[in-house]
């Protein structure tokens, strides 16, 4: 509950800035912000008051590929030029997809085409309701998911496709974002670590995504992450 007393509200804003509020309180604050100019101003003032403390964090160089990841994750990002290694493993999928019926056979083919052993790679093929392969999903070492459509098709007007992840044991899927019309994307999964057995789903949703935080439309495609590089 966001306090109503002005003094308590201001300290609540300070605790939001400090970072000591729990996830539920933070969600409340962020839901209230668009309609609460007073709370916005209080938070901004605290951000400014405490900003000199930012100097206490020692600067550290980020991983060299971080800008490329950011650029690929921006809305409407241009397709990344595939690096040769990636092309080598994607191409068999494309060919296989045309006459596919057995996902397991495809996974085996993938292993054969991989030239050098690398850390276990998590991947899956999302299938349609009629078990037709539709998307290749791969988790990279940074914990992101990369998606590539095997047979891009136009979505009907006024609909969106939303990506979801359901880790083993979880009771509700977590949204991983909307899928752009280009049909290829990299998503950062935030706190959700891709792991073997995690279900990946794509549902049909209204524009802007599910209003409830759960899939509301039909599940169009589904697959389960599997270790593909394990030997």
């Amino acid at each position: 509950m966001i306090p109503t007393d002005p003094q308590d509200r201001d300290i609540f804003a300070a605790e939001y800035v400090l970072g000591t509020l729990d996830a539920r309180a933070v969600a409340e604050v962020e839901a209230a912000l668009p309609g609460d100019a007073g709370l916005r101003a209080a938070i901004r003032e605290w951000e400014v008051r405490l900003a000199p403390l930012l100097a206490l964090a020692a600067p550290e160089s980020p991983p060299p590929d971080l800008w490329d990841r950011i650029e690929a994750a921006l809305p409407g990002a241009p397709r990344l030029a595939p690096v040769p290694r990636r092309r080598r493993w994607l191409d068999p999928w494309r060919g296989w997809a045309i006459g596919a019926s057995a996902v397991a056979a495809g996974l085996a083919a993938l292993l054969v085409t991989r030239p050098v052993p690398e850390p276990p790679r998590l991947m899956t093929v999302l299938l349609t309701q009629r078990d037709q392969p539709a998307w290749v999903v791969e988790a990279n070492a940074a914990g992101q998911l990369r998606l590539a459509s095997l047979n891009p098709r136009r979505l009907e007007e006024g609909r969106a496709m939303q990506l979801w992840g359901l880790p083993p044991g979880a009771t509700a899927p977590t949204s991983l974002g909307l899928i752009p019309p280009e049909g290829q994307l990299t998503v950062s999964t935030g706190g959700l670590r891709p792991e073997p057995g995690m279900l990946i789903e794509i549902s049909l949703e209204p524009p802007g995504g599910s209003p409830t935080g759960r899939p509301t439309g039909p599940i169009l495609f589904i697959g389960r992450l599997t270790e593909a590089g394990a030997s």
Binding site: D10, I11, A14, E15, V17, L18, G19, T20, D22, A23, V26, R44, E47, V48, R49, L50, A51, P52, L53, L54, A55, L56, A57, A58, P59, E60, S61, P62, P63, L66, W67, R69, I70, E71, A73, L74, A142, G143, Q144, S188, G190, G191, L192
Partner: protein, 179 residues
């Protein structure tokens, strides 16, 4: 070089949808913002996720930056901190807080000298110095390392309720001191 443009000017261009300006902002700020995220997450992969999320937020929210109400560096730092804090909360703050050296730098007496690079920083340093030592440490550990009330309590060996009340009192005193 655009990377040498002031961050505030770059933010104006980012708000117009200029991706080159976002890139220049990244080149200029990434090391500082990654350090801020890494202080909270203490995991380079997670910090990279947080900085990625921060730059997506910056690209979406650049228009909300108002140079009349604070510096661009402070605004960018706040976006990065909240991205890192959100990630820490999603992970249930399962972070290595048992590192005995954690936070020593942030709460060392000389650390506050880093804060005093600007006039605002000197005032904040003076006001922080006036707080009880445990109040000050609690606030610094929460801000710099993203520690929760419970983690601050464990670290300072104080009851949880005491820590909550002390941090609130410390914040109140800071606000009065800075006014």
């Amino acid at each position: 070089m655009r990377a040498e443009s002031p961050a505030a000017a770059l933010l104006v261009e980012v708000a117009r949808g200029d991706r080159g300006a976002l890139r220049a902002l990244y080149q200029q700020q990434a090391t500082r913002l990654f350090g801020i995220a890494q202080s909270i997450l203490r995991d380079r992969e997670a910090a990279a996720d947080a900085v990625q999320d921060a730059f997506l937020r910056i690209s979406q929210r650049a228009a909300q930056f108002d140079p009349a109400r604070g510096e661009a560096g402070a605004w960018l730092g706040a976006v990065a901190r909240h991205a890192a804090l959100d990630l820490a909360r999603k992970r249930g703050r399962e972070l290595p807080t048992d590192d005995p050296a954690l936070g020593d730098i942030a709460v060392a007496p000389e650390a506050l000298e880093h804060v005093a690079a600007s006039a605002e920083g000197r005032r904040l340093r003076d006001c922080l110095s006036a707080l009880d030592e445990k109040n000050r440490k609690g606030i610094l550990l929460a801000f710099v390392h993203g520690l929760s009330h419970a983690q601050v309590a464990a670290r300072l060996d104080l009851p949880l309720g005491t820590v909550k009340a002390w941090i609130r009192r410390g914040l109140l005193q800071l606000r009065e001191c800075l006014t």
